[in-house]
Amino acid sequence: MLDTLMLSRIQFAANISFHILFPTITIAMCWFLVFFKVRFDMTGNPVWMRAYRFWVKIFALSFALGVVSGITMSFQFGTNWPGFMEKVGNIAGPLLGYEVLTAFFLEATFLGIMLFGIKRVPPKVHTLACIVVAIGTTLSAFWILSLNSWMQTPTGFEMRDGIAYPTDWFAVIFNPSFPYRLAHMLLASGLTASFMIIGVSCYRLLKGDDKQAPKLTLKVAVIVAAILSPLQAFVGDLHGLNTLEHQPQKIAAMEGVWQTEKGAPLLLFAIPDEENRTNHFEIGIPNMASFILTHELDGEIKGLDQFKGEHPPVKPVFFGFRIMVGLGLLMIAISWFATYTLKKRGQLPTWLMRILVGLTFSGWLATLAGWYVTEIGRQPYLVSGVLKVSDAATQIAPANVGFSLALYLTTYAILLVAYLHTVFLMARRAVEIEEFDMSEKPIKQLPSKGDNAYV
């Protein structure tokens, strides 16, 4: 029988996993939309407007899913993890508060104008509304990652009677892992949005769409992905070095290093064995992990033996890290190849487009894998060295948590299916119907009123 702690953990993991999918899309997609809209304003070329109009619908849908799951998340801090707010609420509270005050209202209010106000405000004000929404989504990432990073590498506080009090807000917000984590997450969002735009654009082209908009969005997103993917590898490496400095136990789990060793190999594959504290079926490149992490071939890497009882479960961290890195390398290879082919031939071969459709949500997988590495990697702590997960959990009856968990899981499963279905449905529909043309003014026939004025 699962207890309240375990059920709460599953519920929080389910909620955050579902929630993170949508901000990961919307943060960067909003900047894509700003780009499309600004290009339209500058050139007057209606293709940019069509690109905007197609993607703004997917943006709106993703945004709505992010909002509703985010509200659920905000309630769970209090309902399921009261100890979290009691012990570190003086720090977590204001960071969350600033997110609501500076980001949520901004994005939510101007989203109304962005989605429905295109004919009610001058074009420049509308473009400005898009930019404000993009700033809002990015600010929201700023605050939430600041809090998350603080939980990983807490600074700028003192403990009095078991409760954390802030002493230096600058040090709290700009804690040691924050710049790396923020850059890593923003790039992850950029790649997720790019691969989604690439995938859906290819899907339209494969379905026989001969319009300009999908070709244009494909080209833009492929180039963005080709720029961001190597950048992500670089930032990821810096992030790793930062983690080595502040959370060596996480690195040890990621690399599967059970005993402290010099000249540790880079394990391409292995099956970590928690019981016997060793790996099976190791395939590795000698000395490579030491080289990457310490920039010396025989540099020392602390092993899990130094953190007995204080280190995370190894398997999920180890595999999660490999999935993330593997997908990252695939993204670099495929985006470079696609950019090269596009430059040379002006279009992509069918087989490549099929692969790209398959990779539509590769950003989601990489982000989730990376998120598990960093979150599970912090276990058994909720706030590194300050608060253990087990000390923060609620006392409510397990039956209640089980009940809410079942409700959430069902809801999320239905919504995920509906979302994926709808995205491809909208793509198929865009193949058939001629898209709206902004160049004819004034526009007489909007579709039915409820069909959202931005269709």
């Binding site: 849908l61 799951s69 801090f77 009691e86 609420g89 609501v100």
Partner: protein, 332 residues
Amino acid sequence: MFDQATLAIIFVSLMGLATLMYAVLDGYDLGVGILLPLDDETSADTMIASIGPFWDANETWLVLAIGLLLIAFPTAHSIVFQALYIPCTFMLIGLIMRGVAFDFRAKAIVAHKRKWDTVFKSGSLLASLAQGYMLGLYVMGFSNTLEAHGFALLSAIGVSAAYTFIGSAWLVMKTEGDLQQKAIAHCKSTVVITFIGILLVSLVNLLISPEIYQKWFDFPYALILIPIPIICASFFVLCWFVLKRLAKQPNIGAALPFFFALLIFTLSFFGLAFSFFPEIVPGKLTIWQAVAAPEALNFMLWGALIVVPTILAYTAFSYRVFWGKVDELRYY
């Protein structure tokens, strides 16, 4: 820098403002959701279009209100939401249902649109009922008795009726023709139920708590306080007459019922808040016992003082952009 006692007052006021904003703003869009007809697609589309640009920002006030409770009064938050765990889950599921249905209905294939409308309507109703139930349990001090749950059930119906009242008043203001006439009829019936609901909650409040009774009827405060329910009641009566006239002349003063609803919500909210002040968990914790550390709250406060007025300003801007009858969207 403020001391802890002052900060408690400031933050409970900010929380009150956020809660009231939420009740009014999300109140009307939840109400519109409850009224959504399932057999009349044109009306449903117009009704959805009337709340389209606003619902998201409206709901953010809930996040702020709960966020402020969490930040400024963490112990109270933890007591309240552990006690309200199940109704709170229902509320969240309701909010999820309506938030996504709103977007899916516009994008789904035509055959599925009705289904998403059903989801939207039931989500709105579920969220409203859950909120009312939570309010009821709060008023009863979270006691786990049959009477408490019975009262919470009444409160669930009362709050849903109040949201439907302000929602239909919103539609009276934003729509024309048949839909407006229907909205007037809905507004007329819900204004009566809301009146009875508020009356019941007030009476129960006075009956179960001698302290609250004393607060309201103690001389000389009574002289200032007693007019509040009297003024509130007279707004109900005025609203009723305005609605009767609007049925015949729908063009003059169509915004009045919404305006009255706003005043009624505000007065009722102040009544309730006054009854409980300074307690944040009725009978258990005062705001001074529950308040968080001044280091945290002072840091939060400077932001709030700058940002909240900005939020109010751009919210006003957004309402100005979408001012007027919702049908006008067609002409653009």
